[in-house]
């Protein structure tokens, strides 16, 4: 928060008595209108209230908060909630409620007096202006409300106050909070209050020992708020001098030409301090030459010859000897000047003892933050891997087990997502709709898969490359169909509340519930897959048919039926994956496109025909992508590029994937 707000507030404080007098006078004058003291106060600050800017609103908030009026806290909180309106004709402020429509159908508001909460009649909405405090102002109001809320009987209000303190900590909060700790009934809130109190002590305590105690109490704490309180204490400023001062607040000396301070930066500092002449850059040189044109030539060199930097340097040198321009510093001069000065960093924010303790605490914090960041990265990678796994598991069946290249696999995922959307149109309850959507998505895509197998894929079992083309055709047709039916806009698929939010382990490690749900779903499907393949008759028959259809047929298995069911199963799982992916990302007709290539790679990298391979493949890709992202966080695309390059190379060296099938199954 800028300093002038405090300063302005201080002025307001100083003039308080005078203000009160004026207020009384104004109130007397306006007694005909019978204005409440609060209304009078607002009228006084009417201009800045109407302007509603964070930079100017300070005095109004302070005046209301300091007015001592009983209605003031309520005014502040209702103002914060955008419930305060102003009547256009006389500028009076009211709370309002929606009062339906009048006879002509125009919206009306019920006006409520801000002083005593009584109803004062109706007004057309068009005659009223809403005060819309922006979030900066709302923060300031919140900070002003803290003192009223800290000991409020309502626990929610006390939490609100603590939130406000953590957002905009002020010196005045320290005393208020100290008073409000002992009488706190709720243990959790009390713990928060104490923690917040120590944080305020770091910032505002006058006594150095108290500050250091508070700082040291946070050793190893992962909270962003702790780091936010400590880091400002250890900021440094660069400075330059001829000799290093003997002050205790020197953080480090810097060598020009090092990574922290380039020679250019160092010289620039000297120029800014007036300790060195400025360098002549090409633009300045050009300007100087242009300023000294004399009859089509500069320093005797014709203009048309000045088309190289060497020629310009020559001309400039001549100008220097003529005394027309300042000489440019030579390398040797620059070296000499840099060598004659010492560059250093100085702590500026706190006294050395506090800085030392803050540094020590930050070191301990950084260590645990680093460990937790690695944990967080691992969680993210697991989550990404599980999404890839979920998208690929259907493919692991159709491609991995049956060997069918289904390019429309992505579109089955999309169909599942759209099923989820359609279900939500009919069942507004999010929890129930998800419960309905999951089996329904399975049913829809199972049916679609069976239909596709019957009509197209079964004719092409011996022509895998052509399956690829035919299913690609189906893929683009399905995509366009989805566009024609659902439009090109993204459709909302909203997760129920219990899946919203995130599991916050600490301020560094957290993961959203929806991702956990996807992870669990992926594990469930892995279990289901293993169960079906290894423990059921269907699984046995599937394995038999894929290994040797003729032999299987002669054993009484109907390969057609098995193929159809297997394909349907793979497609159905893709549909369920679609609901999950739609919940966490978006539902558009191009949803499937984003996953198809990655899914194939997951299966291929893992090793075709083995679900564990697919699992490892998804894990590998997830970890790889997050790992590369970690090295280059500002460019996500690079991570994807290098991941794919890695996969290409990986397949060169392990063409059969991580887990290669051996023996007869491999030849099937």
């Amino acid at each position: 928060m800028p300093r002038q707000t405090y300063w302005e507030a201080a002025v307001t404080f100083g003039l308080k008595t005078l203000l009160v007098a004026v207020t009384m006078l104004f109130a007397n004058l306006a007694s005909a209108q019978d204005l409440s003291p609060l209304q009078t106060l607002l009228q006084e600050h009417r201009e800045i209230l109407e302007k509603s800017s964070r930079r100017t609103i300070g005095p109004a908030i302070d005046a209301i908060a300091d007015s001592g009026l009983d209605a003031a806290p309520e005014l502040l909180s209702r103002w914060q909630n955008k419930e305060l309106w102003q009547r256009e004709e006389d500028g009076l402020f009211f709370y309002t409620e929606d009062a339906g429509k009048d006879a002509e159908g125009a919206a009306q508001l019920r006006l409520i007096d801000i002083g005593d909460g009584s109803e004062t009649g109706l007004a057309p909405k068009s005659a009223m202006d809403q005060l819309k405090p922006n979030s900066g102002i709302r923060g300031m109001i919140g900070a002003a409300l803290v003192r009223f809320q800290l000991s409020s009987p309502d626990a929610a209000e006390r939490i609100e106050a603590l939130d406000a303190i953590s957002r905009d900590p002020e010196a005045s909060h320290l005393a208020a909070l100290s008073r409000a700790i002992d009488n706190e009934p709720d243990a959790a809130i009390k713990a928060r209050k104490e923690r917040q109190h120590r944080l305020l002590q770091i910032r505002f305590a006058e006594d150095t020992a108290t500050r250091i105690d508070a700082i040291e109490s946070f050793a190893g704490d992962l909270g962003v708020d702790v780091r936010a309180a400590l880091n400002p204490l250890v900021v440094t400023r660069r400075a330059v001098a001829e000799t290093l001062p003997e002050d205790p607040d020197i953080a480090a000396t810097l060598t020009p030409g090092s990574a922290q301070l380039t020679r250019f930066e160092a010289y620039d500092m000297l120029v800014k301090e007036g300790l060195a002449p400025p360098l002549i850059d090409p633009a300045a040189q050009k300007a100087a030459l242009e300023a000294n044109i004399d009859g089509g030539a500069v320093a005797g060199i014709p203009l048309e010859e000045l088309d190289s930097s060497a020629a310009r340097d020559r001309a400039y040198a001549v100008l220097v000897t003529q005394g027309a321009v300042e000489p440019a510093a030579t390398l040797a001069q620059i070296d000499a000047i840099l060598g004659a000065h010492v560059f250093y960093e100085r702590y500026t924010a706190a006294e050395p003892r506090v800085v030392a303790s803050a540094l020590a605490t930050l070191v301990s914090i950084d260590r645990s933050v680093a460990i937790n960041q690695v944990i967080d990265l691992v969680l993210d990678a697991l989550s990404l891997g599980s999404i890839y796994f979920l998208a690929a598991i259907g493919l692991a069946i159709t491609f991995g087990v049956m060997g069918v290249i289904n390019m429309a696999h992505g579109e089955f995922i999309m169909m599942g997502a759209y099923t989820g959307y359609v279900v939500q149109l009919f069942i507004p309850d999010y929890t129930l709709s998800i419960i309905v959507a999951l089996p329904l998505a399975f049913a829809v895509t199972f049916a679609a898969g069976v239909a596709m197998e019957r009509l197209v894929v079964r004719w092409l079992y011996h022509r895998p490359l052509e399956t690829l083309l035919a299913t690609f055709g189906i893929s683009i047709a399905l995509q366009q169909l989805a566009k024609n039916i659902f439009g090109t806009q993204a459709r909302p698929l909203t997760s129920p509340d219990w899946l919203g939010g995130a599991l916050v382990i600490n301020d560094v490690v957290s993961i959203s519930y929806i991702r956990i749900a996807i992870f669990v779903l992926a594990l469930l499907f892995l279990g289901l897959f293993l169960l079906v393949m290894n423990r059921t008759r269907l699984g046995l028959e599937v394995r038999a048919v894929t290994q040797n259809p003729r032999m299987a047929a002669s054993m009484g298995i109907n390969p057609d039926r098995i193929n159809m069911l297997t394909f349907g199963l793979g497609s159905g799982i893709a549909g369920i994956a679609g609901v999950a992916i739609g919940l966490y990302a978006k539902v558009t007709s191009e949803l499937g496109q984003d996953y198809i290539v990655q899914s194939f790679m997951t299966v291929v990298v893992g090793g075709v025909g083995n679900i564990w391979g697919t699992l490892l493949g998804a894990g590998l890709i997830g970890f790889l992508q997050k790992g590369i992202e970690w090295f280059n966080p500002s460019n996500t695309l690079a991570a994807q590029t290098y991941m794919i390059l890695f996969i290409i190379l990986f397949i060169q060296f392990r063409p059969k994937g991580i887990i290669a099938l051996k023996g007869r199954a491999a030849e099937a």
Binding site: N134, G139, A490
Partner: protein, 420 residues
Amino acid sequence: MMGASLAALGAGGQAMAQDCPIKVGVLHSLSGTMAISETTLKDTMVMLIDKQNEKGGVLGCQLEAVIKDPASDWPLFAEKARELISNDGVAVTFGSWTSSSRKAALPVLEELNALYFYPVQYEGEESSKNVFYTGAAPNQQAIPATDYFLEELGVEKFALLGTDYVYPRTTNRILEAYLKDKGIAEEDIFVNYTPFGHSDWATIVADVINLGEDGKKVGVISTINGDANIGFYKELAAAEVSADDIPVVAFSVGEEELSGLDTTNLVGHLAAWNYFQSADTEANAAWVEEWKALMGEDRVTNDPMEAHYIGFNMWVNAVEQAGTTDVDAVREAMWGQEFPNLTGGMAVMGTDHHLSKPVLIGEILEDGQFDIISETDPVPGDAWTDYLPESAVLVSDWKELGCGMYNTETETCVQLTSNY
């Protein structure tokens, strides 16, 4: 040399004027990734043209929409633009969403001396003789929004998140220069680019939250485009990032994008535009009603639609004023053309082919609409930003200087055509 050939081509174009019906080209992607945004604009144009025809058309002629689908494929924009102009003989074309697609069509437009209206907020650094930019330039959206962050929200550390293409790249470059100008240190600006349609946002959101560790207030300026926003906002909501802690202002998120989302957890985050559906004027109420009557109750209006609304009406008025659809005459009539904004006030077309419009900042509400909390006076669009050294010296003025890229230092016209 180039001018001469342009003039010669321009003369060729005149012969087509006044044949009834007057054809109006519509060049918006109806398939592919950009269809999400652009289909709406095609519908808007059809609605505007039908409405104009009910009023009796232009110059006594009915208008006829010629719709082509460039399928979100940049080269197709060039191909279809050429078809529209030379085969169909359209008098004017309304089209494009992404800058890439506009830049693809530009050479054709300039070669054939056609007229083009581009309705989307963009990165500036361009002023073509043949294009009227009815969307916002950076100084009409990005700069005021950044000012709002600095002054009203007290943001001290910035995360510039964008989709990896021209608009975010250039806008972020301008914003970086602007923020440094305002005393924000380089290490307090975090920049990240993600591909189109990106969906894995967990790490990036966590990084942004972590920016707050040095005790400075963090704000996010998002130039994330299209449906990638859905995943981003879902992750933001899941991480329970409150707008009070880390406000996000988006330049590419409007009513249309929010309609694909549950906004309960996004209340308070911001967007900067020149138009919001919630603008409280009679003209806007009528416009919204008309749109919903045509397209369905659940459809929303947005900023690029208003840009087409203004652009189309200005073109109609300019044609009436010029008495011909001839491109050169209409262009001259367009300079200084005025038309009321849907948000109130007058939009004025400048001689650098950019509109003067007010800048609005809105907070997201629970119903997916925006609460307008800040509105400026009209700001004239600035084709060449003042915050980058190489373009600070450039100005555009087609009326007086006859040049869209005029170097005020050397007092020469850098080029008559545009950079593609």
